[in-house]
Symmetry: C2
Subunit: 260 residues, 2 copies
């Protein structure tokens, strides 16, 4: 194992001090009247991962559990389990299956992003850095034509178009893709598209993590002209101040016409 | 500790067999060419929790970390840490902070639901049961006037109106509440509303878990007339088949008018 860099050292110290740990929480709120059982000294050390390997693993993991959130999260954590050992190896990655279909088919947040954000949040404890990385991941996702990943041994062989997702929501992203690809949402093509998209999002997450832990700052995102325009009135400090959001796309700006 | 019931026993056996474990995954995909390191035999045993205590804890936890997702998740896992011990006690609950503001302020899935779904998914490994519980939680949320929780020592003293969320999305749910309450999204009233809402969602999640682990089946949800109507064409088997969703509210059916 390589020696810890400055960020990793600081993170380990923060965790070992119990600032975020179960012990500190239980003590302060006097849970069930028991005394502080002591904070675990687990350290979630990050070591740089290979982007190609991560993409391939996410593709396999997604398919294995039929879950995009699991695919992205497990591709990262299982590799750290191999490289670092505990506490990664006993992390119950399988809990992340719940994010598929925008959480159990509710079509909300794309599960690849839920999984990527969960992994970032486990590894990056500094609030500003965590949010900046999630911002960069989400912004990349909605501004990129996906999928990009091309598996050597695809689960379903097809030439799939890359389509700009234009949303971080599962329903909008996947329905938009199905429309452009001229296939049913319930087709093997759409299923394959989402499996490849797990590979893309896992790769991007690891790119961001590698960059962060090598000491580089996340790039500030541009919300785009439309969203910036909306937020000038509706965001914090605006005359309306009635909204917290970072993308108005897909719900408020679409080519949707009145229902026939 | 009470003896395991049938469901808990089956779950422990499944986990111990490594069907979902890291060991099985690493072996099958031949991660980095290494041999199966062996599956951990951790058992995520559930014991019935007190609903009032859960609500109070979620309210405290949310406020402590300024995160709804953390509030709901940590209120459940820390109690199981006290009652059961490991592996709950060393679970890094603090990773769940990422869900606040619909994930880092992106306004997507309400973080209380992201946290509730994550807890359900950690504890209920049967796919059908897991999805049914998440369905019931999400359906309860969007059809209930919230917040209901009334703290004995509120962080911000105010009489807050209970408003039907009508959406599982953070932005729609919270903006709608702010509008009805005639306060800014960035007001202490809205912040207090969301903190109390964590208490409500944590309580409901534990009600569902207690019921599930006492052997009762989740109630099938009714998607409502509007969504059922949409899905008759747009859902699986419909003439369009271009959508996976369980609620069309808030994005497609609102009182929104063309922007002035």
């Amino acid at each position: 194992m390589k020696p810890l860099n400055r960020r990793q050292l600081l993170q380990s110290l923060t965790l070992a001090s119990g600032a975020y740990g179960f012990g500190a929480l239980a003590a302060d709120i006097n849970l069930a009247g028991k005394s502080n059982p002591g904070a675990p000294a687990n350290s979630w050390t990050y070591l740089a991962l290979d982007c190609d390997r991560t993409a391939e693993l996410a593709y396999q993991c997604h398919n294995r559990m039929s879950s995009c959130m699991y695919g992205v999260f497990a591709s990262i954590i299982t590799q750290l389990g191999e490289k670092v050992g505990e506490p990664y190896r006993s992390f119950p990655c399988e809990m992340m299956v719940y994010g598929e279909g925008g959480v159990a088919g509710w079509g909300t947040l794309c599960g690849t992003l839920n999984g990527g954000a969960a992994a970032i949040s486990l590894l990056v404890r500094n609030e500003t850095e965590r949010k900046a990385l999630i911002d960069e991941l989400f912004s990349w996702y909605q501004n990129t034509s996906l999928p990009l990943y091309s598996p050597t041994q695809p689960f379903f062989k097809a030439d799939l178009p890359a389509v700009k997702t234009d949303s971080v929501l599962c329903h909008a992203s996947a329905s938009n893709w199905s429309k452009k690809a001229k296939v049913s949402f319930y087709s093997p093509e759409r299923k394959e598209r989402c499996t490849r998209l797990s590979a893309d999002t896992a790769r991007k997450t690891v790119e961001l993590l590698n960059s962060c832990f090598s000491g580089q700052s996340a790039k500030p995102i541009h919300l785009g002209e439309r969203t910036t325009g909306c937020l000038s009135c509706h965001g914090k400090g605006g005359s309306q101040a009635d909204v917290l959001i970072k993308s108005c796309n897909s719900c408020h700006f679409t080519d949707r016409q009145p229902h026939p």
